[in-house]
Each structure stands twice: as structure tokens, then as C-alpha cells.
């Protein structure tokens, strides 16, 4: 596979900002790949997207597309020449143009019939058939985002950049739209970068995930890799509860509650770790036990562990138990 978009050592500090929004970031995106950038708000992921589109200029570093430099090292390609598709958080639909004209806006140098055909095709693909003459304000939230996607894909961009496209939608709509958009992106074999603060969105849509923190990349990997082997606490907690386990000799690991087991009796033939139960919480779905660990071989590093209490395990506050690793 060939590299489509490449950032090397890119940095950007906004005017008036003290910390860089993007700090020495290197990242390559391959053709046909969907990369999801996750991180807290303000972690610099949107800035990276805007840098890719040419809406911001990097302070240092190089951005290249198909090996050709588009920003940095004295080169500069303005956004209108980059052939990117950008889906803005709020859609950024042109309110004074109809749905069809919004889609046709990026199609230039084509005959009327070609434009018409392209618009029809795109609108059919995103399920907005027959919406041609409506205006954006008459569309629902989900319809708007689908229109925004159709508009950005219509000119066959080299890559698509999606900035929090689901964040203004309610949860149920979000789930279905996310599947739909992923399907469309895969169908047209788009190379895409998706920015989101929601790890579920990122894991569902992205082939690879990139965790951002304070302008730097913390970890890159498939959703499964990131879930199972987070590099540090920040990456681990993006996906929900995770326990810090320090083992003698092999350093610190982050292990999910479902990969640990709490029992009353010492497990046979295994190296169990003795713990004391600090408290039990019933969340309705299951019972969670908070335990302290003081063993000679394992250590929570001062932090308690959160474990799921299986049925039939009779443990209460203050009782002793054993933890084994699955």
C-alpha cells in the first residue's frame, strides 16, 4: 500500500497560545485507510486535521501528499488546491444554496449533465434521494451530516477529513449514522481521518486509532491493540476502567477488569494475588469490587483495583480474596 498523507515532525502553536496545539507530530496514513484520532478536547486533534486541509499553516515540520510536500520547507499549497474533503463539526452547509447546489459546489469544470449525474449519485449514496431542492435548514441533524459527507465526497477528494461529525447528534442516531458513514467511506475506498473524542466512535469507524494528548501522539494501533495493551493510564482510561498492575521484574501493565478474576479461595495451581476488599458497588448490570493489593510480587502502585464480582463469590467489605489474571 502506498502512503497518501504524511506528517513529519509537524508543530503548530496558535497565536496567543502558550503551549503548542500540535507538538512534533509524525503520522502516516495509507491509501484506503480510515484513521481515527481520539483525545480530550483541546488535545490538538482538530488542529492536525486543519493542518492537513491547509486551513492552518504549520510552524515547523512537513506535510506531504503522495510524496509531494504541501506545507513546510518553503512549500505551500492552499486548501482549494489540496483536493481534500472536509466534513465540519456543524456541517458548514451553505444555507443559501439548495441540497443539490451544496453537493455541486465543489464540482467544477464539468458539464451540466455530468454535474447532475454526480449530484444524483452522491445523494442516492447517502440516502437523500429526492432532497435536491430542499434547503439545509429543512433537514434533520442526521440528514445534514449525510449531506455534508456527500458534499465532501462528490469531487472525489484524495482524502476525507471528518471533524467530530457525530458530536451534535443524539446517541441513537449517532450509532446508526456512524455505521452508515463507515460503510460509505469503505465503499468509495476513501482515505480518511476522523477526529472524535468518543473512543466508541473511533473504534467503530477507524482501522487504526491514534491517541492524542496535549498536542502529542501517545499511542497508535488498531482498536483491539489499544484496548488490550494501552501504553499508559491515559490511553487505558479512554476506553473505560483499567487497573494499574505493577509486577516484579516486568514493570507496569494496564489490565481491564474483565481480564482479571476475583475469588474467595486461592486459585489452584495459579499464582493468585491476595487482596482485601475495600467496598462493593452494585451498578445493576453487575457488582463491582474495589480491592487493595499488598503482595510481594504484585502492586497497584497505591491505586485500588476495580474488579467485577462473579455470582456466587461471597465477599464483603473487609474480606480477604484472591485475584488471578486471565
Amino acid at each position: 500500500m502506498s502512503l497518501t498523507l504524511e506528517f513529519s515532525s509537524v508543530s503548530k502553536t496558535y497565536r496567543g497560545g502558550t503551549l503548542p496545539a500540535v507538538n512534533d507530530v509524525s503520522l502516516s496514513v495509507e491509501e484506503g485507510e480510515i484513521v481515527a484520532l481520539v483525545g480530550e478536547s483541546g488535545s490538538g486533534k482538530t488542529t492536525l486535521l486543519r493542518l492537513a486541509a491547509g486551513l492552518e499553516t504549520p510552524d515547523s515540520g512537513i506535510i506531504s501528499v503522495d510524496g509531494k510536500i504541501v506545507a513546510g520547507d518553503g512549500a505551500w499549497v492552499p486548501p482549494e488546491k489540496r483536493n481534500v474533503g472536509f466534513v465540519f463539526q456543524d456541517g458548514a452547509l451553505f444555507p443559501h444554496l439548495t441540497v443539490a447546489k451544496n453537493v455541486a459546489y465543489g464540482l467544477r469544470g464539468r458539464s451540466r449533465e455530468q454535474t447532475q449525474a454526480a449530484v444524483d449519485y452522491m445523494l442516492a449514496m447517502v440516502g437523500l434521494n429526492g432532497f435536491h431542492d430542499r434547503f439545509p435548514h429543512a433537514l434533520s441533524g442526521g440528514e445534514r451530516q449525510r449531506l455534508a459527507l456527500a458534499r465532501s465526497l462528490a469531487p472525489h477528494p484524495k482524502f476525507v477529513l471528518l471533524d467530530e461529525p457525530f458530536s451534535n447528534l443524539d446517541p441513537s442516531l449517532r450509532r446508526s449514522l456512524r455505521e452508515e458513514i463507515q460503510g460509505i467511506l469503505k465503499k468509495v475506498n476513501a482515505t480518511a481521518i476522523l477526529v472524535t473524542h468518543d473512543t466508541e466512535d473511533a473504534a467503530a469507524v477507524g482501522d487504526r486509532m491514534v491517541v492524542f494528548r496535549e498536542g502529542r501522539i501517545e499511542q497508535i494501533g488498531t482498536p483491539g491493540e489499544l484496548y488490550r495493551e494501552p501504553k499508559n493510564g491515559y490511553c487505558a482510561r479512554l476506553f473505560g476502567p483499567s487497573n494499574r498492575v505493577k509486577m516484579n521484574g516486568s514493570g507496569v501493565k494496564w489490565i481491564r477488569p474483565e481480564h482479571m478474576r476475583l475469588t474467595v479461595n486461592k486459585p489452584e495451581g495459579e499464582s493468585g494475588v491476595p487482596v482485601r476488599v475495600r467496598g462493593i458497588q452494585d451498578t445493576g448490570r453487575h457488582r463491582e469490587a474495589i480491592v487493595d493489593c499488598h503482595s510481594s510480587t504484585h502492586d497497584g502502585g497505591g491505586e485500588p483495583w476495580m474488579l467485577i464480582l462473579e455470582d456466587g463469590q461471597d465477599l464483603k467489605e473487609g474480606s480477604e480474596g484472591w485475584v488471578s489474571f486471565l
Binding site: A53, E80, V84, F86, F88, D90, A92, F94, H96, G106
Partner: protein
Amino acid sequence: MDPWSASTLFVALLILIPLATVVIGLVQAGPKWDHLASTVLWTYVWNTVILVGTVSILSLLFALPQAWLVSAFQFPGRKFFEWALVMPLAIPTYVAAFVYFQHTEAAIPALVEIRKSFGVDAFIWSEKILRYGLLSILMAGVLSPYLYISARTSFSRQQRATIEAARTLGRGPFSVFFTVALPLARPAIVAGLSLILMEVVNDYGAVHFFGVPTLTEGIFRTWFGLGDRSSALRLAGLVMLAVLFVLLIERGQRGKARFSEFSRDQSPTSRVKLGAGGGIVAMTVCLIPLVIGLIYPLWQLIGWAVMTFDTVIRNTFREQLLHSLLLSLITAAVLTGIAVLLVYTSRLHPVRWIRGIIRFSTMGYAAPGAVIAVGVMVSFGMIDRGVKAGSGWLGLADSPFISGTIFAICFAYLVRFLTVAYQPVRAGMTRVCGNLDEASRTMGHSPAGTLFRINIPMIRGTLLAATMLVFVDILKELPLTMILRPTNFETLSTTAFGYAKEGRIHECSVPSLIIIAAGAIGLFILNRFMRHKEA
């Protein structure tokens, strides 16, 4: 540098020419300067200071109680007063002066009596007090709405909770006014007062009429009376320094004390209902400035207009009207176009130096019209002489003259009124266009293509409104137009002023009323803008 930044820089450099000329003029003393400094200069300074002082005090009386009543109390006619108290702004100071001047003449018999009974000193003093007093009252009448608007906005935005906390701590509505509302509104009050100050300093017509020579009048006298350009330029430089000084003070105090000006809680403080007695008092308090600044002048002008309408219309008036409207409209449209250029450049390049030169380019509104006019006149004269020398040397025939042309006066309007177009255009683009122009760029459209396909179509209404606002301002401008107009060139304001100066006071009512009508339209547009902003 791309064409956008380059043209923005070019506009800024053009605007810099007259302003720099004025500043450089400070170091250059004209032949009559010593004479000026030893005789009338201090009169000009003192008259300006006194007038600014009295108008400010009267404006506080005419605006603050009214603003508080309208925002904190419920009484009959409150809604009417809320917007009516803004309307005196439609009347330029010189038009109000036409109306009020007759009273100085009506007082002559009384003055004669004073002369007889108390001697010549008492006569001189009472005549002076009459003139200065009347002038201050009429100016405060038409200018106090600046203060009223800023104070009312501040009062109505004050955090409801703050006011209510004061009430629960045992303060009545009047005590709350002095202990909470007024101190919180201080930055807004100072801002309103500084606008009034600028208008007083800018005024030429009214002070000329009432024989109160301020610095602006001094510029006219030095230039046209003494024929000393350099000294007039120096005087203009001093006026500009003084205005800048006041603006810096205003900005300084605003920076330190912004308080909770723009609270997030937009729910208005519930208004206290006034009883019958209180209602009558409130209505009277609101009616006084309204009568002085709007009702009486309007009533008088309409009466005169009915008397003289036929004679005025039969004169060359229609031609002048057309002149004035056309010139104002074309200039206003060009100014709005330039404002679009500046706003769009700052969107394309949100960098410090662009912001800096735009802030500079839109500073002209602070400089009095006469100051800008003198700067344009002198700098264009120098360019003319340069061109003449150059063309003579090259053996060319008659060189073009740019001073004393329509171009010169339009350029001066640009320097003075660019900000009037710039502010609404910027607000409109920020509010309406958001990131739509960025979206357009990512879809393969150039900056220019985006401007014409997205930004301009989307803010058409705003552009029209901005053009109207500039149009109205140009229509009623007097001092700058007086200095720069080509010979035999009349606008509505110079026509009105010319009639009044010739003693044809009744005839000036027709052009005056047209100016007022245009001003009223401008106020309605501004009002709609402010509502949008608050929404």
C-alpha cells in the same frame, strides 16, 4: 504578499497620508502661529473644554435617570420612551442650532433691560451665559442618546442576581441604583461620554452659529480667515492629540473595570411597577430630554417647512439634492466594498500585523471632520505641486489637480467613515459565515471565488445596511464637507447651513428635515443590528 494583504496595506497607507500630514504638521509653525498662540488659541481651548464639560454634565442628567427608569421600572409609556429617547440622534447639532438660535435674538429686549439696570459687565456676562447655556442644552439634547444607549445596555445586561442580591440585603430600588447599578455601569458611561465628547469637538455648525469658537472653529478661522495653512494644520494636530488622549483614558479605564458587563444570564431584571405618582414623575423625567432634543426642534422645523416649502423647491434645490444623494450613495457603496476587503483579508490572514493595520485604518472616526479635511487638503496640495513640478519638467500639458476635486472629498469620507461600514460587515461575516468560507476553500474554490459565491451572497442584507449607515453619515456631515467641497458644489448639509448663515433660517428647514429623515432611517437600521447582536 498575496493580493488581499497587499490591497489592505494599500488602503492603510492611503489613509495614513492625511493623518501623518496632520501629525507632522505639529512640528511646523505657520507664519501666524505666534500671533495665534498669544491671542485666540487659549480662547479656543477654553471654549472647547467648557463646552465639553457642560454638555457632559447635562447629558448625564438627560440620559442616566432615563436609562435607569426605562430598564428598572414599569410605567405608562415605558416602551415608547425606550426607543424614542434614542431618536434625537437623528438631528445633527447644527440643525438643532438653527432652531434654538432664534431664542438668543428673542432675548435681546431682556438683555437691553439688564444693560440699563446693571451696567455693561452684567450685560456681557448674561449674554454669554445665554449663548453658552443654550448651546450646551441643545447639544446635550441631541447628543445625550449616546450615553442613554450605552447606559441602558449596561443596566439591562447587569446580572439579575446581583441586583436581586442587593434587594434581598435590604436595599430599595433607588439605593440599588447608586450602590450597584451605577458603579457597574461606569465603563459604559465613560464610553458614552467619550462619544459625546468627540461629537462636541467635531461640531462646526452649531458653535459657529452661536459664536462660541472652539478648536474646530479655530481651524476654520485660521485657514480661511488668516489664510495660514501651516498653523491650521498644527491646530488640527493638537485637536487630534487631545482626542487620542481622551480615547486612551477611556480604553484604560475600560480595560481595568470590565466587571460583569456581559453576563451569561440574559434574563432581564424584573421591573418594579411604579404607582400613579411615580409614573407621572418618570414620564416627566423622560419627556424633558425628548422635548429638548426631538419634539421641539422637529415641531419648529416642520412649521417652517410648511411656510417655505414652495420657494425652496423652486430654487436649485432639487439639483443639489440629487448631487448630495448621488455622491453619498456612491461613496457609501465604495466604502462598504473596501470594508468587505478588509474584513475578508482579516479572515484569510488572522495575523497580528493585518489586525494592526485594519485597526489603524478604521481609527478615522475618532478624528474630527475638520482635522481630516485639513490633512487631506494639505497632503493633496503637496501631491498636486509634486505632480505639477514633475509634469512641467517632463514638458507635459496641464497636470491633473486632485485637491479640490470630488475625489478629494470622497477620500476624506473614506478616512472618516470607513469604520461605520467596517463594524457591521465584520459582525455580519462573523455571525453568518462561520466556517463556511473554509468549507468552500476545501472544495476547490479560490479566496475570491469563495468571497463572491459564499460570503457576499450571505451577507447581502448586512452590506445594504452598512451602505445605508455610511450614506446617512455622509449626508449630514458638515465641517469636512465645508472645507473640501469643490466650488459651487453643495450637499444637503451645506445647503442647509448656507441658508441659515444667510439668515434664511426658515428655508433651511426643508433640507434639515430630509437630513433628519435619513438619520432616522439610519437609527432604525442600527437598532435592528443591536437586536441581532443581543439575540
